[in-house]
């Protein structure tokens, strides 16, 4: 059974400032500022294109990146959960 699908707000609603390996994101709809590390910006990029569940998101990421470690499936759920809690992604 597929898990929840997530989507991120479009680029023009999130101002990004690169900070030497980290990124500061100002999320205009909520007025909140977040400091994020990889892979958060990459996940947001992928979810802006179209909603995806965790498995589809991993597939999109794998098309562009190699992963370090063998816990990708477990980790991606944790990353999505914290991005949802921060309000940077929401369920589609």
């Amino acid at each position: 059974m597929a898990g929840p699908r997530y989507v991120a707000d479009p680029e023009d609603l999130v101002r990004v400032v690169e900070l030497d390996g980290l990124s500061a994101l100002f999320h205009e709809p909520s007025g909140m500022t977040h400091i994020v590390a990889a892979p958060a910006p990459q996940i947001l990029d992928m979810l802006r294109a179209a909603p995806a569940d965790a498995a589809e998101l991993l597939r999109r990421l794998r098309a562009c990146y190699d992963f370090e470690g063998d816990e990708a499936a477990e980790s991606i759920h944790a990353r999505l959960e914290e991005l949802e809690t921060a309000g940077l992604v929401r369920r589609a």
Partner: protein, 139 residues
């Protein structure tokens, strides 16, 4: 926070977009328990007690009577698949439960996601926004 300590990664292609990295970079997804997001405490900080007791009307008075679609958007009353307005505002603690995927007492579980998405879409100036923003503050 955890992150990539190999090659810098940032802003590459999403599906359907034209840009593809010229060489593959290593993305560290991080341990499940590690955090990659820190939310900066906003200036409208409130005390923990007031956060739990602040209120979020669903929907706000500007949209009284409208229903709420599963994605959180307001739709005309009676729209099929949409959730009816809540009879009373949600308290901060109830909104927190909703945002975590739980259903507070008195809320129809089938409508919970619509209400949660409505709250996530609140913007500055809308009734309940300050309460929502405060709920997201790290303690």
């Amino acid at each position: 926070m955890s992150g990539s300590d190999k090659e810098a990664v940032g802003g590459e292609a999403a599906e359907g977009r034209a840009f593809v990295p010229s060489r593959r970079t290593v993305l560290v997804l991080g341990a499940a328990a590690a955090s990659t997001v820190i939310t900066v405490r906003p200036a409208l900080a409130q005390t923990a007690g007031s956060v739990l007791n602040c209120e979020i009307p669903v929907p706000g008075p500007h949209a009284g009577g409208n229903y709420i679609a599963p994605d959180g958007n307001l739709v005309p009353p009676g729209t099929q698949g949409a959730a009816p307005p809540l009879a009373r505002p949600l308290r901060g603690e109830e909104a927190r439960q909703l945002l975590r995927g739980n259903t507070p007492p008195g809320v129809n579980p089938q409508s919970a996601q619509a209400y949660a998405n409505y709250i996530r879409r609140l913007q500055s100036g809308m009734s309940g926004f300050t309460c929502y923003a405060s709920l997201q503050m790290p303690r």
